[in-house]
Symmetry: C2
Subunit: 246 residues, 2 copies
DNA sequence: ATTTTAAGTGTACAGAATACACTTAATTCT
DNA sequence: AGAATTAAGTGTATTCTGTACACTTAAAAT
């Protein structure tokens, strides 16, 4: 097998979620194509972070590479959730124009395996490497390329399912966070609100949420206690996280 | 795009689950390759139900087609759960021999999208169409082709996750079933046992499990009440199925 | 010193999970 | 015909979890 050739048929797309304590956001890449003569924008919208897969590369590696190439970030939480292979998924007119403009054959069938990814927006600095990036609120409509709208909505569904039974929300928070931040995160993901006392009563059962000897600073109100998530404690007391029984 | 050509790069595999009131089983296809000279078996094991995808075919369609071609069954519950794209997934020696014997190039990278599928073993008659099929208990080891062992174990995990919050277990039971059969099904899927009274107390809250005016017949003990699952009732009372709250 | 802001805290009630053992109704056996 | 076998069917007490609900506190800003 020839090495390091981008396979024309396989791609990966990453739905990168971030949380800024206000909204759950998705990382989008700006896509523009201007008419060579008039200079008018023929295509102006957004795509997910995505690219083709190398011939000798696993899908998980490809997803991590795509993220690295776009943002410079490594060791990011990545979870495969669905593969989109509708033969018509690249046949909207503006997508055909776009593919031709970057030298790809729009006739060529591309099956894409989609991942979602969780990023600590507040701990982390993203370096734009070429493409213009925007963080966009998940629930706000925006014009998207290809079938990326449906990909995002399935990603959110997959995230909701996963986070019910796995402590992955902490991937979206700084390593030290307050309980109100944690609550707000869950509220944003599920699109609901919770009662503060009841929320705290519930999570106070979780030993792996450890209170630190440290408070919030510089806020114009009573400073909150800081917490961190202990993976160690979690691994040793796994049953406690939303355990299932029929 | 040329029509009805099997794409060399894409395949689908189906992990078909069935339940015989005793064990959760998987449908496997026998695979044998005999040495032309000695007649000795070079390869003798099992594969999942799978095949390549047509050029103009969606992945979901391909999975349904593969199932139909193998068993004659239609309108079967199918759920995509993972895509396997490790470049080395077809490089075990016996798999190379096998691929060559059926005229495929083992150098060719194949990414497979895996589905699991639920079948009412007791309502349904499978017609073998060519290939020899066996129903094998999920938890019993057996020699499997390619990466099909790991595919089955991820399928089971995906089924467990899905069935926690969705009433899909009924796809594995005949349309009329007893509560003991339902309990046994959950016990097999999760590899645990439940207390009979507590199990019944829990499911008695589910309005969509409707008791029929009919009893089991021909059993050498007190005959059980028969039940069915009402999709109608379920749709109208959805919240009741294992609802989540943080 | 006062205002503003979000943090932090307790109780009563209802519903769900869990532990646990005997009676009943059909077939089969003698 | 009677006895044995088999799985179905049923209730209660206790603990745990979910839910509804309002005031006090500590910091910064005015």
């Amino acid at each position: 097998m020839q090495q390091h050739i981008l396979s024309p048929n396989f791609s990966v797309d990453c739905v990168v979620f971030g949380f800024d304590f206000e909204n759950l956001k998705v990382l989008l890449v700006e896509r523009t194509l201007d008419d060579k003569e008039t200079g008018k924008a023929l295509v102006k919208d957004h795509t997910l972070a995505g690219n083709h897969v190398f011939n000798d590369e696993d899908l998980d590696e490809a997803a991590a590479r795509v993220l690295y190439d776009l943002t410079g970030l490594e060791n990011i939480y990545l979870e495969q959730f669905h593969t989109f292979g509708n033969p018509d998924r690249l046949t909207k007119e503006k997508d055909i124009m776009w593919l031709e403009s970057i030298g790809l054959n729009p006739e060529n069938r591309v099956v894409t395996t989609a991942y979602y990814s969780l990023i600590r927006l507040n701990d982390v600095k993203i370096e734009e490497k070429g493409r213009r990036l925007v963080w966009h609120p998940v629930d706000k409509p925006i014009d998207l390329a290809f079938d990326h709208k449906i990909i995002i909505s399935l990603a959110l569904e997959a995230l909701r399912t996963k986070i019910r039974t796995n402590p992955i929300g902490f991937e979206l928070l700084p390593t030290k966070f307050t309980l109100s931040q944690l609550q707000k995160l869950y509220e944003e993901i599920f699109g609901v609100t919770y009662d503060k006392r009841n929320f705290r009563k519930k999570i106070s059962r979780m030993d792996y949420l450890v209170p630190l000897n440290e408070k919030q600073k510089g806020v114009a109100h009573k400073p909150a206690q800081l917490f961190m998530f202990s993976k160690d404690v979690y691994e040793k007391t796994k049953k406690d996280f939303f355990d299932f029984t029929v």
